[in-house]
């Protein structure tokens, strides 16, 4: 049985990629297996856990629920596109400061979801954070410190103070 394949072109973290893909190839598999961007993780196969969260054309999506062919022509940002060389970005830094990660498996998806929230809602309340991020599951932290991290990042951004606190 011959498998069809289609040419697609995606821009990921600023770099253009062209690939031939089967129609059934998931976007998350394109990112991880084809492009070697393994920061985006898979925790389920039904779009519940959010570990696969990436940004496609400005909106966050669960990349396990999208086919690669659907992302043809899109501009994608993954976790690997956030840090500025050696420096973590302020949101990533806030996660580290607040103890918002333990095993780190949900973390890329969490950071992408938090980033999207802060773009549209720069000073979210606890309740707004809980609602906006309900699509991202974590089994290690119990969520409390992730909420702290998002609020801390919001404070840092609003005070214009880019320098992270050091313990």
């Amino acid at each position: 049985m011959e498998r069809q394949s289609f040419p697609i072109s995606v821009k990921v973290n600023g770099t253009e990629y062209r690939r031939q893909v089967e129609p059934r190839l998931l976007l998350v598999d394109l990112l991880r297996d084809e492009l070697g961007l393994t920061g985006t993780h898979i925790g389920c196969e039904e779009g519940i856990c959010g570990a696969c969260t990436v940004e496609v054309d400005g909106e966050i999506v669960k990349s396990c629920l999208l086919f690669a062919v659907q992302a043809d022509g899109a501009s994608i940002t993954t976790i690997e596109g956030l840090a500025d060389g050696d420096r973590l970005n302020p949101l990533q830094d806030a996660f580290a400061e607040s103890g918002a990660l333990q095993c780190g498996y949900c973390t890329p998806g969490m950071v992408m979801a938090a980033r999207a929230l802060l773009k549209s809602c720069p000073a979210p309340s606890d309740e707004e954070i809980r609602c906006a991020m309900v699509g991202n599951l974590c089994r290690c932290t119990g969520y409390q410190h992730i909420i702290d991290a998002v609020k801390h990042a919001a404070e840092v951004a609003s005070s214009g103070n880019e320098k992270p606190r050091v313990t």
């Binding site: 049985m1 498998r3 089967e22 059934r24 190839l25 598999d29 991880r32 297996d33 070697g36 961007l37 393994t38 920061g39 985006t40 993780h41 898979i42 925790g43 389920c44 196969e45 039904e46 519940i48 856990c49 570990a51 993954t78 976790i79 690997e80 956030l82 840090a83 973590l88 990533q92 996660f95 580290a96 400061e97 103890g99 990660l101 333990q102 095993c103 780190g104 498996y105 949900c106 973390t107 890329p108 950071v111 954070i129 809980r130 609602c131 991020m133 309900v134 991202n136 599951l137 974590c138 089994r139 290690c140 932290t141 119990g142 969520y143 409390q144 410190h145 992730i146 909420i147 313990t167």
Partner: protein, 805 residues
């Protein structure tokens, strides 16, 4: 040796792991690839109990991209059965292979496997495999497993056993009959907990490569116990351990669920047969149906009280449904034993009788899950204390204070020695933190308004550092500490990082001993070719066994650095201090040498004969395999041994509101007061406590691995299993007390499981307290709205039945 003065231990140092994890540069097993690799998928049984008549894989290999498809019978020619993890207690051990050969014992048991050029082709191949089963009658409940009226069960899973009992243990101490005869009050109840488990966000993953020319096997995998996996693979594949390397980098959560070798052997077999690397990334649905399950037990408990609330005696019959196996495919059956041992808790109780029986059924295997029986014990005793208080008209805090141990060391009647503890102080502090008086007033006011809030409290302890004789969890841990010529420090530890901040806390311990910063210390774990044989991470042992092995090894390196520096500076080693990256003379700090200067001098310029003359092992390295002086395996006169040397203290509280119209429960706040001994990194300790608490919350409220009446798993998606999320997870406030353990110079006690142990208990009790006006008793979980409504309904006088669900 000077008493430890610490600069780093005790500080909430930022975690070293975080940088790579936040960048998406983690080292999870499925993140790695090798040229020419194939992808493995596993065909799992669709029936719970059957003989395998035929497995036809011929059509699978016709699919383009599919390289191999094997059945259990074919695989049997190439490997041995799964080895035993534990041998103690005369356990009955099933003799089974990683791919089922003649029979399947649960829906989800691996039956065949394929390897293909892509994940997608591998899934296509599974669909082309034909399996013919001869279905057998199922055993799905304890009653079916036990058999009726003393007769043997109708169906026995493992014919050679004669029955379905994998573990059967009885223990009695003191004068239990006398205690009950003299009681002012005897309460008895049936306390049940449903099947649920760790559910880490990362499922199992393996990248196996067998190099035929060198006869070397390399297995990258997600595990808590890399060395034991290596030993297991050696036994399964008949390869010497010296030719096997297990690599475990970042692990996306373990919680006890990754302490075995089961389906992990399958991609290794396929690599050997295809002569290509083989990757396996387990599907979530496969994990749900086959991953280690836990809990699933019932207590029939009786407690005898004096009218002032003093505990006189306890009898418990603990029975667990351990699925098809709790010893070989995964090792969870002993958690029930631990449950039976710790029911007396931190209370003065010397009349106790317990029986623990674990029955096999046609369900997934039964593995360790955070708590490992300490939770089993906690819910039984604390629930009965709560009800005893109510029956006797006592305050729930008062009844505990009356019975809590306050003189140490104290030997629990089942054997464990409580070395010290602050149970009373933790409880007192909890009362303050919660402001229980104010909460009671609020409760009274709410009832007048037709709202039902409830308060639940429990004392708890966390025994940690399991050291089991006749097991692969046998109570030692290893470390190597090496100071390089440039003064940088390498620590090799047998502990495995699974999210608990191993790289950071271990670095803090080494940095203190060697007078440098954690940044100057590189911690390596999860590589059996590099790290000395260790037992990995489980039973909250990282801050005790893991840290102590590093502490001692670092001390050895430290001694040699000081001796060499003393020779170089021409002073006595006792006059030297090691701090801030330098060795300096006390009181004359200008006379100093950096770690690099001392190290380079020892190694090369001038070298060991002048810097450390006549010194054995004259380079700045140390090695230690640490065992615990408080462990004792020879039984005492009552047949008791010491296998859990450390005991942390605590008390937890919950405030809930229940809506009796909808059955919805809102957990408004959780509190925890915990004394885990010396905290290496308080932020990490807090993270463990909160994380564990939310897992406990999930287990009490909605998590369940559910089977239907034909033995088919119903919860086959993560969505149906229901993990706590941002909206449901309750907030938690933590207060710390610190009573260092006297067993070790570090004074740590372990904290990995402390968060979860009492949380299901306090949620049950808080709901019971809220619904007291309805006469509700919470005897089972999860406390979903339908169950809560049912509890209220069954408690009504007109519908009261003998055995509420």
């Amino acid at each position: 040796m000077d008493a430890p003065r610490s600069n780093w231990v005790g500080r909430s140092v930022r975690r070293k792991e975080d940088d790579r994890l936040l960048r998406g540069l983690g080292n999870f097993a499925d993140d790695f690839s090798l040229p020419g690799q194939l992808y493995c998928e596993i065909l799992r049984s669709t029936v719970p109990h059957a003989r395998i008549v035929r497995v036809d894989t011929s059509r699978a290999t016709e699919i383009p991209g599919v390289v191999i498809a094997v059945s259990g019978q074919e695989a049997k020619k190439h490997w041995k059965p799964l080895p035993h993890l534990v041998e103690m207690m005369g356990l009955k051990q099933p003799n089974i292979y990683a791919l089922a050969t003649d029979k399947v014992f649960y829906e989800g048991e691996p039956v065949a496997a394929v390897a293909a050029e892509s994940r997608y082709a591998a899934e296509d191949a599974l669909a082309a495999i034909r399996v013919e089963y001869e279905e057998l009658p199922t055993v799905l409940t304890i009653d079916e497993s036990l058999g009726a009226n003393g007769r043997p069960p109708k169906i026995v899973l493992y014919e050679e056993w004669g029955d379905n009992l994998q573990l059967d243990w009885q223990f009695s101490y003191g004068d239990v009959a006398g205690a009950f005869a003299s009681a002012d009050l005897v309460l008895s109840d049936r306390i049940r907990v449903q099947r649920h488990s760790g559910m880490p966000l990362e499922t199992r993953a393996v990248l196996a490569e067998y190099d035929h020319r060198r006869r070397e096997l390399t297995v990258r995998m997600s595990t808590q116990i890399p060395h034991q996996c290596r030993s297991a693979f050696a036994a399964i594949f008949g390869l010497p351990e010296t030719h096997i390397r297990v690599l475990s980098g970042d692990v996306g959560g373990g919680f006890g669920n990754k302490t075995q070798v089961d389906a992990e052997a399958i991609p290794i077999l396929l690599s050997i047969l295809t002569k290509r690397p083989v990757k396996w990334a387990e599907k979530r649905s496969d994990w749900l149906v086959s991953g280690p399950a836990a809990r699933d037990y019932v207590h029939e408990i009786e407690v005898a009280f004096k009218k002032d609330g003093t505990l006189l005696g306890v009898r418990d019959a603990l029975v667990g449904d351990i699925g098809c196996d709790g010893a070989v495919r995964t090792g969870g059956v002993h958690s029930l034993l631990v449950g039976g041992i710790y029911i007396p808790g931190p209370y003065k109780l010397q009349n106790y009788e317990v029986s623990v029986r674990a029955f096999v059924t046609n369900k997934a295997p039964y593995g360790p899950y955070r708590g490992f029986g300490k939770d089993v014990a906690n819910v039984a005793m604390e629930t009965m204390l709560h009800r005893g208080a109510i029956a006797l008209g006592l305050d729930p805090v008062e009844i505990r204070q009356r019975n809590l141990v306050d003189e140490f060391p104290y030997q629990i009647c089942t054997g464990p020695m409580l070395e010290n503890g602050s149970f009373r102080d933790c409880l007192d502090r909890l009362v303050k933190e919660m402001d229980i008086e104010a909460l009671r007033k609020r409760q009274e006011q709410s009832r007048k308004e037709g709202r039902f809030i409830g308060i639940g409290i429990a004392s708890m302890m966390e025994p940690s550092g399991f050291a089991g004789p006749m097991s692969m969890f046998s109570g030692f841990e290893s470390a190597s500490v090496r100071v390089a010529p440039d003064g940088s420090v390498l620590v090799l530890t047998g502990i495995q990082g699974i999210g608990q901040g191993t790289e950071t806390s271990i670095a803090q311990v080494a940095a203190d001993r060697l007078g440098c910063t954690p940044d100057n210390v590189r911690v390596v774990y999860g590589d059996t070719a590099v790290v000395p044989y260790g037992l990995g991470s489980f039973s909250s042992r990282g801050s005790t066994y893991g840290a102590m092995a590093v502490y001692q090894a670092a001390n050895q390196a430290r001694e040699k650095l000081l001796k060499a520096a003393a020779n170089m500076l021409e002073v006595d080693p006792l006059d030297l201090e090691l701090k801030e990256g330098c060795v300096s003379v006390r009181g004359a700090e200008a006379r100093r040498l950096s770690l690099a200067e001392v190290a380079t001098a020892i190694y090369f310029f001038p070298g060991p004969y002048l810097t450390l003359p006549n010194e054995p092992n004259p380079i700045p390295e140390g090695h230690c395999t640490w065992t615990n002086p408080a462990v004792r395996w020879t039984p005492d006169e009552a047949g008791r041994i010491q296998i859990y040397p450390f005991h942390a203290s605590g008390a937890d509280g919950a405030l809930v509101e229940v809506d009796p119209e909808t059955g919805e429960v809102r957990v408004e706040q959780l509190w925890g007061v915990h004394d885990v001994g010396k905290m290496i990194n308080p932020k990490i300790v807090e993270a463990q406590l909160v994380g564990g608490a939310v897992q406990g919350f999930g287990g009490a409220m909605f998590e369940e691995l559910k089977y239907d009446e034909s033995g088919q798993m119903v919860t086959v998606t993560l969505g149906s299993y229901q993990l706590p999320n941002f909206r449901s997870a309750p907030p938690m406030k933590i207060a710390h007390l610190e009573t260092p353990s006297g067993i070790t110079p570090l004074g740590t006690k372990g904290v990995g499981e402390g968060g979860i142990i009492a949380i299901p208990t306090i949620i049950r009790l808080a709901i019971e307290d809220a619904l007291r006006p309805f006469g509700v008793k919470v005897n089972a979980t999860p406390l979903t709205p339908p169950r809560v409504l049912d509890l209220i309904e069954s408690a009504r006088p007109s519908t009261r039945r003998a055995d509420p669900p």
